[in-house]
Amino acid sequence: MRFTLNKRSRGVAVTAAAIASVAALVGCSASSADNGATDGDVSGKITIWTWDAPGDGLKAAIPAFQELYPDVEIDVQDVGNPAIWEKITTGMAAGGSGLPDVLNIGIDYMGNYVEKFPGELVDLRDFGADKLADEFPSGAWKSGSGADGAVYGIPYEVNATGFFYRTDIFEQAGVDIDSIETWDQLLEAGVTIKEKTGVNLYNQDKAATAADSAGLWQLLTALQGSFYFDEKGEITMNDEAGVHALELIKKANDLGIVGDEQGSWDTLLASLRGETDVAIMPSGGWMAGVMENEAPDMAGNWGVRLPPAVEAGGITAAVNGGTYLSIPTESKNQRTAWEFVNFALGTLEGQKVVYDGGGMFPGYKPMLESEGFAEPSEYFNGQSPNAIFIAELAQDTPVVNFTSDYARALKALTDAQTRVLLSGADPQDALDEAAEQVAQQTNRKLASD
């Protein structure tokens, strides 16, 4: 998955990806068959597939849950990201055999699993999940639901875009970050920063051979209210917004203020720790927690704010991925699985332990409004990242329609961007070509036709 891939496992992306093929082969070793509990009881054993940081959050919820239901045993398995997607695919392709009782699914995979493998995920309305709908941001809730309103996943992480910047570098270059309102101004500031300090505005995996590097394009396009697809599922990646986004990326590159760096967890950590300097780092909101944990020495040197708009006065908020907890229909212990999911995500008590354990930005409104959640952070010079993210989620951002063909569109976009950055292709031509390729592969219509 592309969004949460950023998060934890890019550093081991090669390893994890290679293990994925092995994991796919042994995908039938999970234990959903050996728990004796029937649908009615909350007891027995449940298994959860997730990966490192979200897994830490869920593990933290186990003791509190067991106080309510002492007979329940919970096995949180760190399958690894992106290995987990192929493992889930294999299980679903095999009619659900081998899948655990709870799946942690990325927003960009959700539509695909629901559409390609219908009936593999439990409609959580059976357990009354629709009652929770009002407690979550509607966009995040919708992306986890089917067109008919069926609820396939409860939002676990809901990420707004975190626009992080290095306060020390901006200061050294004499640029006032607060005065920057648009990306054009930001690029001008980037030139000044490069001249004064020699630091690149940001780094990018231009060849995109290590990982997809479409995050910036997606952010810039989202800030103009567009995406790869519109709500009807037609292809919009080569619309005005998409082309303008790629033009900005090209402009930054041509100005010589963009470093080239393989996308990996290690290079990301190096940037966070100031080992390779960058002036800004637009990312998911989860990055705030990662910074505090992984780069404690940089306290005070990182700041966070809303992303600048693309057009003056335009949108300054963008949703940056998220994940869900779902229950496969093959689970023999659905009732227990649901009770755990409901406890972890649908109660304030559960949300608090999960947040303390893993630091994933929650979507549960009572949690967001709870005392101390939006407290100023010392690490960020007294700014409150959470308050900024809450403000972003409150802005009226368009519902992002990932469709079942997101992976294809992402690949086509990445290739187009590589052509622009490495071979000097024209953004409009490159995106037209990409859009046509997606249309040819998926039989989707181009919105421009």
């Binding site: 051979t209 990982a211 290739d415």
Partner: protein, 329 residues
Amino acid sequence: MRRCDPPAHPLTKRPNVNALLETIDERPATDRRRPPSRRRRSSIGHPRLTPYLFLLPTILLFLAFKLYPYLSAFWVSLTQNVGGVTAFVGLDNYIRLAQDPLFYTALGNTVLILVVQVPLMLALGIVLSVAFNSMLLKWRAFWRTTYFVPIVMGLVAYGILFRALFDSGDGIVNEMLGVIGIGPIPWLVDPFWAKISIVLAMTWHYTGQNAIIYLAQLQSIPGELYEAAQVDGANGWQRFWNITMPGLKPALLLTVILSTIGTLQLFDEPYVLTNGGPDNATLTIGMYLYQNGFRYFDFGYASAIGYALTLIIAVISLIQFRLFKEKTR
């Protein structure tokens, strides 16, 4: 000197040819044994069950793990997943394949890597095997082992190793080239150099294996031939060209065909090194199949690619068999 004529040494050569060819003969052993058994059966007058009972495990395994997947994949290649429902679409996937520019990109990349890498690797393998076989080389066992080690190296370790070697920033290869004033070369991030990186990695990985196969074949060439040639006044090059090379022919056929099939199915190296990029410069048919199956969940199309690849491999292997046969005649 007289040409080394293969049939003149039936004892040393023939069994080897057959043994090697048998390894690439996909027919089950039962097919080949049919004539004698039929003769026996007719003399007794009723079919004998015992041999089939003994073969039953093999037959069952073959049906379950070979024939069934083949047929099932073919069936899948005729279907499409539309809105979650698997629908029979006839040859639609194949028609789409014939019009898919990315498939042709993948095919072109694969053939290009094949044409450059296989001859390079096999030539290197022959040179190595001759060196390994030479009486002049000390610690031969050590050298043979060293060159064979890459074969047993796991994909993950291999990927991490080559990514570190070929890193365009501070990779070891670029640092060393920098010392002699070359570079830096954008190994994995430039469309051209990414292909070169793949070729180099594959050569490193598989040359030893081929050298070992050649070495086995070399050791079956009788030493008298070399002695006789030497007495006749042949120099080293003439001995190599007129004794070693003809003697290697069965092993050559084997390695050419195996390497061709292996390269046409190429997946590991682009997967771990370049992810098929940049901009599909190292997208191979194997990678494209994988992307469609496991990234896009388009199993019907992936299966169609698989069958197209099988067809391509079958045709090329047939041509290679023919060419080698004509040369032998």
